[in-house]
Amino acid sequence: MKLFRRKPQPKPAPPRRSRPGLDARVPEGDPLTAWERRQAEYRLVSPANRRKMTVIVVGTGLAGAGAAAALGELGYNVECFTFHDAPRRAHSVAAQGGINAARAKKVDGDSISRFVTDTVRGGDFRGREADVVRLATESVRVIDHMQAIGAPFAREYGGQLATRSFGGVQVSRTYYTRGQTGQQLQIAGAQALLRQVERGTVNLHTRTEMLDLIVADGRAQGIVTRDLVTGELRTWTGHAVVLATGGYGSVYFHSTLAMNSNATATWRAHRRGAHFASPSFVQFHPTALPVSSHWQSKTILMSESLRNDGRIWVPKRADDERAPGDIPEDERDYYLERRYPAYGNLTPRDIASRAARTEIEAGRGVGPLKNSVYLDFRDAIARLGRDVIASRYGNLFDMYADVTGEDPYEVPMRIAPGAHFTMGGLWSDYDQMTSMPGLFVGGEAGNNYHGANRLGANSLLSACVDGWFTLPLAVPNYLADHAGQPVLSPDAPEAKAALKDVRRRTERFLRGGKTRPATFHRRLGEILYRGCGVSRDERGLNLALKEVRELREEFWRDVHVAGTGDRLNQELEKAGRVADFLELAELMVQDALARTESCGAHFREEFVLPDGEAQRDDERWCSVSAWETTESGRHVLHEEPLEFELVPLQVRNYK
């Protein structure tokens, strides 16, 4: 990576833009009271009419389980779907560090506006400020609710809730349950969902995967699913559809996501007309475990909370072969503390990842493949004692020891940036509705809060807020327009046509070829890490674009799915997911190519400030890129202009 500004590059042809910009229907007036006013405007559905209305919720993570349970509680008929065998398995379960809330109970200067500033700035001014204010406002009661439905948050000795600090923030607003906050929130959410199943307000369909969206009269009115056990393809219809199906970081093959995490639901909805926003905004987590062998299936995440006590360093000398313990203090470079003295090891994730990438590319990487940096607890153990460190991070240390065979109490951990969270997702307006009427989105599947970089512990928050406190208010506002209308027939021509499309696709996978879907996935990941990873440039992106297209052609020529479609067939499931990744990847690269600036996690090497930091172009790109893909596969850019009233546009500075 070049640390100075390059000569101006010839400008690529401007992408097709449609004017005027997309309207996110943000409430006018004082941003701090916008959410209160919007809630007062929302139309309602009478309790008697609610039971005549059906809402389809796809996904049972924090956002999906929350939305399904809350809508069920309100009296709607909810049909809820997950490809897992149980709602509790959704990947929210794997989040470790914590959930932010601007409760501002302590005298450390926290407040709603401080939260908004941190989040908007952390996202490098590419998220929607009004939505962030709502997130901050609702964060207060999310903690109350999640605690009440069963999440045993960590407590101080006095019995009050404990908090800790996370990256990109100088106050302590992260609530947690050891290193397993996501698990505890997820279990609480899943059991609240099962409570509604028991009460008969939610029908839960496990091992059932959404493969298409049904659009009729220009509105989302149903989905097509495959029963993963029997192979049955069928249609479901409702008055509205909520997608809470998570992010697409697993497009990179090696990622911190679960094996089954995929983009199919959101991508299929996109192909039916919902805009996809900022697909190239991908967060690389700085504290993932490095890839160290061919069959390693993922880059396991080590919680960011480790950076509270661990110090990140590399040897000052390139290709230093000494064991970490043999490298004396003055030959170590604690590069985050050196470059960002104000935030030190707690800089936001995009900056920490990029800094690690710089060190690794300069030959100072450590470990057998020289592809990682040290995260060292020596000083913290000396200061606090082993027991304190064990009580804070015990399960993370155990997991590290399991995976690597090394004892992190004795030798420093080795970490590396790994594909993690996707800030991009289906575009939605202030009411969480996508550009397709009747199609709502929640959690990581959406895009609105985090801009070009998400702060740690804000994803559990956004998923919980969407699920429990935004969608249950916003979806009924839409339903009010359709009260008294019958549900679309599952045999309506639009439903049958979508079903036919899915059937044709499934049959195509089973036609033969020689290469497993997983092999294509691995190759796609390599292309994306190289061309559309922690940093990007025009040449690399153009090459990636070509490679992705070639790989997709080869996939359809040569993919091999062993077995049949009429029973459990994980190869078939994988083939469908990889096919969609191959389309999404092209849009990611297109998006990265079109956005001629650096911002947050989108770091274009051509656009760099003299000190090596990202150079935003607010004149041209203070907007959300919302893409449409036409039937023929052409990508059309729509832009939502962004306005900042509470947090004035400024260059991010963590120094």
Partner: protein, 249 residues
């Protein structure tokens, strides 16, 4: 390194299953059990056969999706560790592995190594929750919970729902699973109004779906979340508490 495998293949719940022999020549010590199966599947599909179906998702040991029986041990030879976190380097000199589904009448085989564990969710569904509508919860700070109680509650709440306890139990009991939920919710003040009803609903479902507990303690030897044996005591304690009080709390 070379690993010899015997793997259970079964086409469907009603089909008759059998062991199939395979050899992986290029296994490596850092491979997890799941990665070994990934490697093997690549080989099997390359030879024109169908991949072995097995479950795993997060591969970090927290989602509870994985779980196979290895040489008679639920999850594998390393105690208290889920299958996805069992690495070949920890198996000592053992190079022959017999891999089967989790074995329990409560977990019918769906295909190969995949079993149906929905019986566990039926326990939670019956009573493993708290009756609070969104937005109605009291301030989380207004209810003081002593540090030790919150930590103890979390010890029980850490259950990952993998079902290994049931597979390990000679009786096929799910008392460790059901008890962990009862103990978790009994230790936090919210929902104590439903405590008696919860105990009744959960214990009745445990009795209907699973075997009884004879306190063999096999479950705690395999539990990846380290749920303590006192969880099984919580089943009886909570039920009797409800019976003697004769009311919800």
């Amino acid at each position: 390194m070379r690993v010899e495998l015997e793997i259970w293949r079964q086409a469907s719940q009603t089909a008759k299953g059998a062991f199939e022999r395979h050899v992986v020549d290029d296994a490596t010590p850092e491979m997890s059990l799941m990665e070994l199966l990934d490697r093997l599947n690549d080989q099997i599909v390359g030879q024109g056969d169908e991949a072995i179906q097995f479950e795993s998702d997060c591969r970090e040991g927290v989602c509870g999706a994985c779980g196979v029986t290895v040489n008679d041990d639920p999850h594998g030879p390393v105690p208290n560790t889920p299958s996805c976190r069992q690495h070949l380097r920890s198996f000592g000199e053992v190079r022959k592995l017999r891999i089967e589904p989790l074995r329990s009448g409560a977990f019918p085989v769906i295909r190969d190594l995949v079993v149906d564990r929905s019986s566990l969710d039926r326990v939670i569904r019956a009573g493993g929750h708290v009756d609070v509508a969104a937005g109605t919860a009291p301030g989380a700070d207004s209810l003081r919970i002593p540090y030790e109680e919150a930590e103890l509650s979390l010890d029980f709440a850490a259950c990952i729902g993998c079902g290994a306890c049931v597979a390990a139990c000679p009786n096929g009991s799910a008392h460790l699973f059901g008890g962990s939920k009862l103990a978790h919710l009994a230790l936090i003040p919210h929902g104590e109004q439903e405590r008696g009803r919860r105990a009744e609903a959960i214990t009745e479902t445990l009795d209907a779906e699973f075997g009884p507990c004879s306190t063999y303690g096999e479950c705690v030897k395999v539990c990846p979340a380290g749920i303590p044996l006192s969880a099984v005591a919580a089943v009886h304690k909570e039920r009797l508490r409800g019976v003697f009080r004769g009311r919800d709390n």
